[in-house]
């Protein structure tokens, strides 16, 4: 079972409960599951020109993050080091251990009108922002009456 991303938040807990109920009753879930609660947390939005993905992934070395786009499927993978002392180190005590550590991979499918050459990513303040441009032919345009 995955670790809750924002533990002890009453709203998050309610959300999790609701999700589990839904998962239990949903007879045809997405093939990749609902995925909520994984690391990094994702927000996705769209504009007429692009699809914007925000991954909340603090504490990463941007050089080690692998972003792949394969046949419209975007995957974000990497590893987050643990800042905790080794288990055999008797000198330090860990009182709270809530932060995610280890390897992660999140996968999402993008809409069909994405231009694979128009995907850019930047990392700032722990947010990985991926912007995927829609194809020129798919952009909304005004048609003039002849």
């Amino acid at each position: 079972m995955y670790q809750s991303l924002f533990p002890r938040d009453a709203f998050a807990e309610l959300d999790r409960l609701q999700r589990e109920m839904r998962e239990a009753f949903d007879l045809s879930p997405n093939i990749r599951g609902l995925g909520r609660g994984g690391f990094p947390a994702l927000n996705v939005g769209g504009t007429p020109q692009s699809v914007e993905i925000f991954a909340f992934a603090p504490g990463l070395d941007p050089a080690t993050v692998e972003i792949e786009l394969d046949r419209g499927v975007l995957s974000i993978a990497g590893e987050r080091p643990s800042g905790l002392p080794a288990a055999d180190d008797g000198k330090a005590a860990v009182h709270i251990n809530e932060r995610f550590a280890g390897r992660f991979r999140r996968v999402l499918s993008l809409p069909d009108d994405i231009d694979p050459d128009g995907v850019t990513a930047d990392y700032r303040d722990g947010i990985l922002h991926i912007s995927a441009r829609r194809r020129e032919s798919a952009l909304p345009r005004r048609i003039t009456v002849q």
């Binding site: 769209g46 909340f56 603090p58 905790l84 002392p85 005590a93 009182h95 809530e98 932060r99 722990g126």
Partner: protein
């Protein structure tokens, strides 16, 4: 339990109180609780908190009496015309409150924010540093 474990206690009561004070609906002051790691060694306590999207100028750290408050506002480069289609992080604010214990030196807290991870170092007061006690055999 030793007193140092006080730092591990989350002051949810204070948080709920603050929410109702500022806004009768209690929702606009709502914030996400950032996940933290707290590690103690003989010289002090290290606290690490995940605050993705919080720039240095939007982070507020306060030590008042024995209460440590971490608050941060998320700032994201969202395009104007964007419509959210899938949301896991629903509030642009983080907040968490801890109670410090008295052997910690709240005046010497040092903080560092890098790639959305806040690292706090709270040293123990001089008089609380460990020392070896010699046993005299008479």
């Amino acid at each position: 339990m030793s007193q140092t474990n006080d730092v591990t206690r989350n002051e949810s009561a204070t948080r709920a109180g603050a929410a109702t004070r500022n806004d009768p609906a209690g929702r606009s002051d709502a914030a996400l609780i950032p996940p933290v790691d707290v590690i103690e060694d003989s010289a002090g306590i290290t606290l690490r908190a995940d605050l993705p999207g919080v720039p240095k100028d939007k982070l507020s750290l306060q030590v008042e009496a024995d209460t440590l408050t971490i608050e941060g506002q998320v700032s994201m480069p969202t395009p104007q015309s964007m419509e959210a289609s899938y949301v896991e992080v629903s509030m642009p604010r983080f907040r968490r409150v801890f109670t410090l214990s008295k052997e910690l030196d709240a005046g010497k807290v040092s903080a560092d924010l890098k790639n959305g991870v806040l690292s706090l170092r709270i040293p123990k007061a001089e008089h609380a540093q460990p020392r070896r006690i010699d046993i005299k055999v008479g």
